[in-house]
């Protein structure tokens, strides 16, 4: 561990709405880093900016401001022409494998496409590697001459993963890779990712809204709310000892599939505010059960609670950040 593959500093992304002059504030000052061989999990509700962050880190969408360092190099303002060769080392797997693959290309061509673009290898070597990759993701080589329509969702997601690992990237961003898959298929994909993680030593960013999956795969977890990382913490600490009130309520809303699991419900009132008009101060104060008047005006700073454990909440200082268990 130790070598930082990707670092984002104060990343901001705002999408303009028509010509109205207002913006959707999707990402508001996010700092994060991913190390070699590490899986950073990212959870949050829909609209919290998870996918936007994933895309922005690869420069698939342009950041409004902030800095992205990939492998020590500032890629924030590189031109498209200069970013493209870097994509060899950073790959992405998307949520919906049906729309991520060209329906008219053969599976074999789809898998070898990244190698043909990025690597200077002979055609026969490319073919060999394609077969190896297919076997690696446990896909029958019979499929290589078929089109995506002949494959099931789980098999297509394996194709997407094979494409992502084809060029031995240093960073792989997985944007909800298992949410559209059935439970048993999902288990197979997660197992494959776990093997690849050990094998490739790449850094992974695993975006998901499912806490169960995140718990299973991640080393560290970043909890997102309205485009802010409210808590960043090693996995075990988040599940045993969440600090931010939002993390606490998110965890309490998670339903483990064990009827004997003890649920302590901290149901939040209301819904996530609109990212067009961000609430002033702490973005969570509108739903926070332990908010104090100060939360409405002061934006909390990120504080280090213990090594590797960061949270932004004004009530960390007086210890009022823990939601009392009896109140609803």
């Amino acid at each position: 561990m130790g070598e930082v593959i990707l670092e984002a500093r104060n990343l901001v992304k705002r999408f303009p709405i028509g010509r109205s002059g207002s913006f959707v504030n999707a990402v508001n000052g996010v700092n994060l880093s991913i190390q070699k061989g590490e899986v950073l999990g990212m959870v949050g509700e829909s609209g919290s900016g998870k996918s936007t962050i994933g895309r922005t880190l690869l420069r698939l969408t342009e950041p409004t401001s902030g800095q992205i360092l990939f492998d020590g190099q500032d890629i924030t303002s590189l031109s498209d022409k200069h970013v493209r060769p870097l994509r060899k080392n950073m790959q992405m797997v998307f949520q919906d494998p049906w729309s991520a693959l060209n329906p008219r290309m053969k599976i074999g061509d789809l898998i070898s496409e990244p190698m043909r673009i990025h690597l200077d290898i002979s055609r026969s070597e490319c073919k060999d590697r394609t077969e190896m990759l297919a076997q690696r993701v446990r896909l029958s080589t019979d499929f290589l001459n078929r089109t995506p329509s002949a494959l099931s969702g789980g098999q297509l997601q394996r194709v997407c993963i094979a494409r992502a690992i084809a060029t031995n990237p240093k960073l792989i961003i997985l944007d909800e890779p298992t949410s559209s898959l059935d439970l048993s298929v999902r288990a197979g994909i997660l197992e494959l990712l776990q093997e690849l993680r050990v094998e490739t030593e790449a850094g992974f960013l695993f975006i998901s809204h499912d806490l169960g999956t995140i718990k299973l795969v991640s080393d560290r977890i970043a909890v997102l709310y309205l485009g802010h990382v409210v808590e960043e913490v090693p996995k075990d600490k988040l599940f045993s000892n969440p600090s931010h009130p939002y993390s606490q309520s998110l965890l309490s809303a998670h339903l483990p599939s064990d009827p004997d699991a003890n649920l302590q419900r901290l149901t939040l009132q209301g819904e996530i505010p609109s990212p067009i008009n961000l609430p002033p101060g702490c973005s969570f104060h509108t739903r926070c059960p332990v908010a104090v008047p100060e939360c409405k005006s002061t934006r909390p700073k990120t504080e280090e609670i213990s090594p590797m454990h960061m949270a932004s909440c004004l009530r960390l200082r007086d210890g009022g950040n823990i939601i009392p268990r009896d109140t609803k």
């Binding site: 509700e45 197979g188 997660l190 149901t267």
Partner: protein
Amino acid sequence: MSLLSVSDLQTHFIFHDIDNQLREACALNKVNLTLNRGEVLGIVGETGAGKSLTAQSICGLLRPPARIVGGSVNFDGRELLSLPSEELNAIRGADIAMVVQNPRSSLDPLTRIGEQLVRIHQTHSGGPIDKSKQKAMEMMQAVGIPDPEGRFTAWPHELSGGMAQRVLIAMALMNDPKLLIADEPTTGLDVTVQAQILDLLKNLVARFDMASMIITHDLGIVAHYCDEVAVMFAGEIIEQGPVREVFLSPAHPYTQQLLAATPERLHLGSKNQLGGQPPDLFNLPTGCLSQDRCELATSACRGEPPIVQITAGHTARCHFAKPRRKSTKLRRNLKNG
């Protein structure tokens, strides 16, 4: 006498293919289930297992080429499958209410929320408009919509996903249904909103003494919000029983596989083979439908599997299911996970 009892329900898709040959997909194969008042039944299964089709068949909402080819659906003492459509219309929306997956596309975008609520009450219960309006307000209050008077005149597009789902539940409750069918009621909603909606559903079932059927693929929802669970595979209910019992000592190998695939119990790095294709509905294997995906399968599985009583109220459709055996082992596994 149970409120709903479905026996041997068979729904097939029957159509002519491009070569004008008659094709028949056996989507539901002898579904049996019963549901009592005050009970919440969870139906789980993978995509294409026939969960939603079961609900649609019960309500008579099938469209061609889907057709019910056998079985019976007995609701509150009446046989639904042989009812003429006018009588069925009087039951649907009144005694049986349904909440569907996508709340936004289920609301009429050109009619205000309040009017849609009043309309469904007028259609079934009649009476003065003012009374319907009052009822609409009450129901909006019951499902936790803040400021019901203000929302009464809101348009569907002004609502968030969670609010729209609440409106749909309020609409389902307008005529005091005896059975509430919720087809993936929280898919697409955030976990914090999901918790609110499910808490609400559970409270309402208790408060109005209804029966409810929740169709989902999320075992977490079943574990915490249902009393009974039915596991479907290839159009068959392969196991049914009280939630705690099925989760702690699943009798059918498919249920065991399904439970083992949940993130809580999954051990990465172990070499258990999971997944696989469901059987071809056009060409079902004889005997047990899950034999191709089952580790235990032997030649005995070519024969029709018996429905085995594991304990009272817990049944499984498998040759290898034995009354009460695997429970101790599975309890231990759970603790390790």
